[in-house]
Structures are given as structure tokens and as C-alpha cells.
Amino acid sequence: MIQVSGKNYRCLDDIQKGLKGGDLTSVQLVQAYLREVKANTHLNAYVEVYENEAMTAARDLDERIHTSSAKLGPLFGAVLSVKDVIAQENHHLTAGSRILEGYTSIYTATAVQRLLDADAIIIGRVNCDEFAMGSDNRTSVYGPVRNGEHQEHVPGGSSGGSAVSVQVNTCLASIGSDTGGSVRQPASFCGLIGFKPSYGRISRHGLIAYGSSFDQIGVIGKKLDDVTKIYEVMKGVDDYDATLIDPLMVEDRPIRKKLAYLKDAVEHPSLQPEIRETFLKKVKSLQARDIEVQPVDFELIDYLIPAYYVLTSAEASSNLSRYDGLRYGRRSPHATTLLESYSKTRTEGFGLEVKRRILLGTFVLSVGYYDAYFAKAQKVRRLIKAQISRVLAEYDGLLLPTTPRTAWKLGAEMSPVQIYLSDVFSVLANLVGFPAISLPMGKDVENLPFGIQLISGTFQEHLLFVYSKLILDDEDSVVETI
């Protein structure tokens, strides 16, 4: 929600009506957001604010809105922030890492280009965990991001800056990336909607790779409608990403009014009691609204985290090989030989968590360990996918909490493994490549928000949106009418 001249604009639809009706100008809108940006600098959400550029774009848009012949893109009036892992030409891009210090991208990510072409305005680049590796936005070279409503707490990660930028109304929505929950988990921690489409839905061209077979661009917003509109603009085939699926090849399927929930997730010992209670209440309320909701077993649940971290670390160790300081980015000034240049540049340029994952990934791909770790994890991934696919062949969607607990304190001492384990419910959707959404579900005794997550079959995003409306307690919406 953004307030301009005493009027509240809750969603993109409000804004577009305001702009067209003359109650609101794009310049006023961007100015209002920029005020919020400035009022919230202590949260450290933004790495760079594109003030002049956003104002120029706003003036240009205002001119076109008042030219009757001008065609407006579907996202006119949408002011967005973009995570510091997505490329835009002539803009810095650093993935929250020292190794990309001073790097300016020389091309624009397909997703960003489509947003710009649809008349969205990008207000700035937001903070995140280094190379999107982290669950609380504490690994960024720019320092941690604070949760906007609970400033002693983390916002979640890795798209922490994205979540907070939306949470405190510095933009309508934010473009993040989700490799194991990096969009959904911070959305859950900040009381927002976080949506990760199917793997192969949105081009990764221009998204800095972390785990190539897991990464997907996603959206964090406050309103479902805004999120879906932004998604619709970004999705679709692109010559620059060979892993995209042609939508014509995807079968549509009818709605069965049947959802499943993972019993093993709800009974998981790590789950915070308030989340469990609220979740079960939610299940009941859906059942009361004529949706069949059944518990299903998923005994592989404790294999999710090991499989995920083995595979993503392996891919990360490979994907991050290119950062050597030779062609771009920061090169260590202390090296005299090529080998030294590699080791010093990477030692000085990467942070602790990134190094940990590079080492882990290098290890699991090494001769003698490949079969025991990487190949085994791939098998586990296939088993998980087969099992979840069977469930989603029978049910329209799968419900589970987004996270086992709410946001922890900024200063909390946690081991890497403790942090990894907190991703247990969100990594599932990336392991199987299916679309998933996190919706605000409730708050715990400390008033910290938490979310409910819905996963649907691959390329069945429309099912997610149908049920999301229901789950968000939109009393007017009934499944059949959509």
C-alpha cells in the first residue's frame, strides 16, 4: 500500500485507475516510494536507488498516459525493486559479493527487459545474501537487512532486501530469485506473498547462477493480483535459456477440488507449535469450504536438506568458477602469478558461506566421492520427484508450512547446519521444479508472521492462483467460478 495525497493505493489496479483517472501521477507515485526508501535506509534493504532514472521514467510515463494514442504496457504504474542478482544493462550487479565490486552489467536480463517493456519502473537494486546463498540475509557484503516490522529480527533470505522493500512500501513488489526458498521464506518472515514459478517458466538469462537446476526468478508482493500480473509479463520462452519449456507442450488439467498436506511436515519435530495449530485450522477451514484436504505420507522428508545442499553446492562450485577477476570484477592486487591471482582473488572476494558451499560442492563432485554424494543425491532427487508427482497427479496441490519457525534474531548464534535445516519445507519445490507460493497465514506469540505454502504440479501455476485466493480468505472467491 502506498499513500499519495492522502489517498491509499492498495494494489496495481488502484494505482492504474488513479493514474488514468488523473487522481495520481507517476511522478507523485515514484516520489512517494522514494520518500519511503529514504525513511527506511536503516533497514539496509537497498544497495542502490535509481532515483533519477525512476523519476525520468515516471515523467515519460505521465506524458504517455495523457497522450490518448499512446499504448500502455500492462505494468504501467508498477514500481518494482530488483534483487542484486539480476542483470540490467549499465547498472551495477554484485550479488552481494566483494568479488563483483564495481562490476557493471553490459546486458539486461530477459525478465527485466520484459518488465521494462511492460512499462514497469525499477526503483532500485536490493540487498540479498551473497550469491543468494543464505536464509537470513546476513551473508551480504553490504551487511544484514533488518526486518521492517521487527527490526531486531532477520527478514529471511536470500531475497531479504526484496521482502523488506515491499514490506515497508518502498515499491509495489520485488523481483527476487528462489533456489531453495529464497523468495518464499523471506515473504513468510515478513508477512508477504512469495511466488516461485515452475522451473523453466521464466528465463534465467541474466540471473546470476547459484544452483542452475534449482534457480528460478520469483515475485514478492502484498497482493496476489499484483504478483500474478508481474509473473505473466516475465514468463515464457526465451532463446537465451535452453531450459525453458514451451507452454504449448504443457497439458492443462481440470480442477478436482482436492488438496493434500504433508503429514510428515506438520508432525515434524522442528515445527513451531503456533505454526502447526494455525496450519491445521487452515486445513479445517478449507474442508469447511467444500475442498477435500487429505494428509499424505512423505517419509523422504529428512532427505530433503541433504539432497538439496549436496546438489546446489555442487552446481554452485561450478557456477562460481567464472569469478576469477580476470575479465571483470575485483582482482586481488596482491598476486604475482596466475595461480596466486586465482587463489587470492577468490579468497579475498568470496565470503565465508560462499566459500563453504564451493568447498562442499567441490568435495561432492570429486573422484571417489561423486557416487557417494552427488550421484546419490541425484537419485534421492528423482525419488522425491516421483513421489511428489504421484501425489500431485491425484491432488490439485500440496499444502505445508513455508518454514518450521518464524524469523530469528539478527544476532542469533546459529550453526550453518541449523540454518540449512530451517529450509526443510521450502527446498522441496525446487528439488522437484514445481511452482510454489507462500501466503501469509498467521503470527506467533511474538507477533512474528509465518506463511502457508502451496505447491502444485509442474506448469500448473493457474491452480496455485485459484487456491491462493481461497486460502487468503477471500470470501467471495469460489473455486468453480475461476
Binding site: V85, I86, A87, L93, A95, L100, Y103, S105, I106, Y107, A109, R204, H205, G206, L207, I208, A209, S212, S213, D239, Y240, D241, A242, T243, A314, E315, S317, S318, L320, S321, R322, Y323, D324, L326, R327, Y328, L338, Y342, T362, L365, S366, V367, Y370, F374
Partner: protein, 485 residues
């Protein structure tokens, strides 16, 4: 030294640069000789966020070569990442194929007759080239040219089936000939379009063990490969003779002093950490694609060779020369099909002695040869029907034909080259020759019969080559013999 008791065991890895327009995983141009780093892009320089996309032409050319070599084409093939750090490798890994190469098996034949052998191919895989490090152009450090980074290659790996440098030489030449026939590669070894790594070990003759091998890397000529292998066999034999042991190492051949030397800065044992490239989905090779490629294959050198030797009765030597290039074999065959009366061996001699050298000298292809086919045919008819002698035809008529492109029959008349069978005319010249060379006549009569060909030559010169050699010989013999009395 008793190196003859050893037998070499040789396997080859040949890198073949493909005739595509662009790089293996992006649209950069790949033409040879461009300004350094002018053929690069965000993708080939591995900028953050860039992804590869497979070049369809690379896949098609790999299948083309695979089918021609009798390989099995893998129905679902994929790329792998091979990791190592080097300045000319932008991504920190090479995109290649490890566990599922596109072609498996296949053979290439070397040797003739009883020494003919089939060399088995282990596999052919697709990969990309690295950039080029230049260490000697700047005092401040090394320079890197990334134009070559990402250029599509095939790597053909043989079984350790080769047993001599001669076989290595033949294998590389046959492969080069084939890739040219298929338009898979320009096969230009000087420009690095074809580069061979030779793995050489030796063992006692008759043994079947495989011993420690040395790899000689990056040889860009078939001749150098043969020489490098010869040197390596000698070197390893000498070590074993002295009771030493061969160390497994990578060496390079230095043509200047014709020896192999260990590569400086010996690499540590690499762990390449191969794993399937997640950014490129597996490629399914459909039956339809296989059929399409199969039907587009040209007639292959072995097929031409077989036809030329069995159907046309040409010698192996002639056939070898004619099948060297697809266009030559094709044009030779076409001409013969059009003129079934021509003797194939006559045409083949003309190709080998005149037409092919002429084209090579003037730097034109056989298709651009200026003399029309029907003129070539009537030129040969003049020889076959004895209207003109072979030597006159080659020495006098051919140059005139090349110059004027006139009809050979008319041209021969115009130049007064048609053979004379007129005995009086020839006898006149014979008499003159004998009068002019009394000493030689004397010598002949004393028994130096070999002088007959000298007299024939003189008569030919007098008659401008027109005298029929058989008649000339007959008259000369009777004149010389009669005057003994």
C-alpha cells in the same frame, strides 16, 4: 640397441574444428584470423547470468561424421562440465561430453592389401575450444585472445589400435579427407582445424599388455605426428633397453629438432569433477534426423576408390590421387559417365598429370577449370584414334587448348599437329636425319642399337612430332639395316 623387439601401441585423440557459422553455445562468429577478442560476447566471456544454448549445426555435423564412420549415434546425448582453472577458459569449466558422447564405435581402415587393418574408434564427442594465451607480446604479462573460446569441436578418440607411425600418418590423412568430403571441417591442419594428441607406449612384440604411455599433445600435421611417434618409440625403447622405466607424462613435439620434450610446468593430476551440464537439456536424436543426415551424405572416398579400381580398372595409386578431394572424384566420374568410350586410364592420367596440377597452381577448384568437358573428351579421342601422338598431345596441344579453349580437333589442325602416316613424307625426314648424323649411324651399325630412339626423336623433331612413331621406327630400322650391306 634392439628396438625391433618392441611393438608400439598407439591411440589418437583428434580435435576437429567444425564448419559452423558460429560458436558452440552462442552466436559469436568464428572465422579464422579476426582481430583479437573481436569475436566475443557476454556468453563467450562468461559474464554473470549468461547461459549456453546448443548449436544445432554442431550436433548435425557430429552425426554426419558419426554415420560416415559407422558409429552408433546415441539417441539421448548430453553435455557435461569439465572443471579446471586457466586464464583462457572463461567459465572455469569446459562444456564437453563425458558420460554420453554423441557417437560410439566406428572404424577407419589403414594399410593396403594384406596389411590392411581396421582401427576402432572408441567415441566421438562434442565440445568447445578454449581461448588462446599469448605469453610473448607484452612485457607486463600474458595476453588472452578469446576469439577461439567456445569454437565448436569434435574430439575423436580411437582405441589403442595403431601399431606404426605409418598407420598414424594414414589414419590422420584419411580422417582429414573424410571431414572435408563431409563438409564437417575444412581440415586445415596449419590453422589448427585438425589437431592430434598421440598416446604412445611400447611393449615386447607378441605381448598383449598395455604399458605406461606418454601423450604427445597438439600436433598439427600428419607428417609431424608420424615423426613424433617414431621419435617416441625410439626414446622409450632406449629407456627400456637401459633397464629404465617410462614415466607417464605429457610431451610436445618440436619439429625444428624432430624430438618430443616434456611439456613445461607439468600439470598436476587433474580432477575434472565432471557432471551433467544443467543449463543444456539432454538432446534427443530422432530417427527422422538420422534419416535426414544419412540421405544428405555424399559418396565417400572409400566408395569412389572401390568404383575406380574395380569398375574402371584404375591402379590403386591413380585411384588414391583421384579420390583425394570430393570435387575431383565427382568430376572425374561425371566425365566418364558422359563419355563411355573414353579409356578411364587415359582420363585418369590427364587428371593426374595435367588437370589437377593446373588447378592447384592457379588456385582454382576443379569446378572452375576452364576447359569444357567435351573438349577434354575430344582431346583424349585424338590420342585414342592415333590422330595425334600422346607426347605431342601433352606437350603441344594441351598448352594451346588451355590458352585458347578452342575445339581440340580444329586446334590440332590449325597447329598442324595431326599425325602423319605418309611413308614417303616420313622417309624423307629419316634420310635427312641419317645424313646429318653419320657418326651415330656408324655407332649404330657397330651394335649400339639403343641409338634407335635417338633417331626417332630426331625425326619427330623434324616433323614437328607429326610422324607416326610406329611407321618412323619401321622405316628407320629398314634404312639403317639396309645400309650395312
Amino acid at each position: 640397441m634392439q628396438s625391433h623387439i618392441y611393438e608400439p601401441v598407439i591411440g589418437l585423440e583428434v580435435h576437429i574444428q567444425l564448419l559452423t557459422q558460429s560458436k558452440a553455445f552462442c552466436g559469436d562468429d568464428i572465422s579464422f584470423g579476426a582481430e583479437a577478442n573481436s569475436q566475443t560476447s557476454t556468453i563467450s566471456l562468461a559474464h554473470p547470468g549468461t547461459l549456453p544454448r546448443a548449436n544445432k549445426k554442431q550436433v548435425e555435423l557430429a552425426i554426419r561424421l558419426g554415420i560416415a564412420l559407422g558409429c552408433e549415434i546415441t539417441s539421448t546425448t548430453y553435455f557435461d562440465r569439465k572443471h579446471y582453472f586457466y586464464a583462457d577458459l572463461p567459465k572455469g569449466f569446459q562444456t564437453t561430453q563425458d558420460s554420453r558422447p554423441i557417437c560410439m564405435g566406428g572404424t577407419i581402415e589403414v594399410g593396403e592389401g594384406t596389411s590392411r587393418r581396421e582401427i576402432r574408434i572408441h567415441h566421438i564427442h562434442m565440445e568447445e575450444d578454449a581461448g588462446k594465451s599469448i605469453h610473448d607480446q607484452s612485457s607486463e604479462g600474458s595476453l588472452i585472445d578469446y576469439n577461439r573460446a567456445g569454437v565448436p569441436l569434435l574430439e575423436l578418440v580411437t582405441e589403442p589400435d595403431l601399431r606404426s607411425s605409418e598407420e598414424v600418418y594414414q589414419f590422420i590423412n584419411k580422417l582429414r579427407q573424410l571431414v572435408r568430403y563431409l563438409d564437417v571441417s575444412d581440415g586445415n591442419m596449419e590453422e589448427g582445424s585438425l589437431r592430434a594428441d598421440c598416446n604412445v607406449s611400447i611393449r615386447p612384440k607378441g605381448s598383449s599388455e598395455l604399458n605406461t604411455r606418454c601423450e604427445i599433445k597438439n600436433i598439427n600435421s600428419a607428417r609431424f605426428a608420424a615423426r613424433a611417434v617414431d621419435f617416441e618409440i625410439r626414446r622409450q625403447s632406449e629407456i627400456l633397453e637401459k633397464g629404465g622405466t617410462i614415466i607417464q607424462e605429457t610431451r610436445e613435439y618440436s619439429p625444428g629438432d624432430d624430438r618430443t620434450v616434456p611439456l613445461r610446468g607439468k600439470e598436476e593430476a587433474h580432477d575434472y569433477r565432471y557432471f551433467p551440464e544443467p543449463d543444456l537439456p539432454p538432446l534427443s536424436i530422432s530417427d527422422e534426423m538420422l534419416r535426414k543426415v544419412k540421405s544428405s551424405l555424399p559418396i565417400l572416398p572409400a566408395q569412389w576408390h572401390n568404383k575406380f579400381t574395380t569398375e574402371f580398372g584404375l591402379s590403386i595409386y591413380d585411384a588414391d590421387l583421384l579420390v583425394e578431394h570430393r570435387e575431383i572424384a565427382q568430376s572425374f566420374d561425371t566425365l566418364l559417365q558422359k563419355s563411355p568410350d573414353i579409356q578411364p586410364s587415359l582420363l585418369s592420367k590427364l587428371y593426374i598429370n595435367k588437370i589437377i596440377p593446373h588447378c592447384n597452381e592457379s588456385g582454382i577448384s576443379i569446378g572452375e577449370f576452364e576447359v569444357p568437358g567435351q573438349h577434354i573428351v575430344s582431346f583424349l579421342e585424338l590420342i585414342e584414334t592415333d590422330k595425334i601422338s600422346t607426347s605431342v598431345a601433352y606437350q603441344k596441344l594441351w598448352p594451346a587448348l588451355l590458352e585458347t579453349k578452342e575445339h581440340p580437333q580444329l586446334l590440332a589442325q590449325k597447329l598442324n599437329l595431326i599425325q602423319s602416316f605418309d611413308e614417303d613424307y616420313i622417309a624423307e625426314s629419316v634420310k635427312l636425319v641419317l645424313i646429318e648424323n653419320p657418326a651415330k649411324v656408324e655407332a649404330y651399325k657397330k651394335g649400339k642399337k639403343a641409338l634407335l630412339s635417338f633417331f626417332i626423336g630426331q625425326v619427330m623433331r623434324k616433323t614437328n612430332g607429326k610422324a607416326n612413331p610406329q611407321i618412323t621406327r619401321k622405316i628407320l630400322q629398314s634404312e639403317l639395316n639396309s645400309s650395312t650391306d
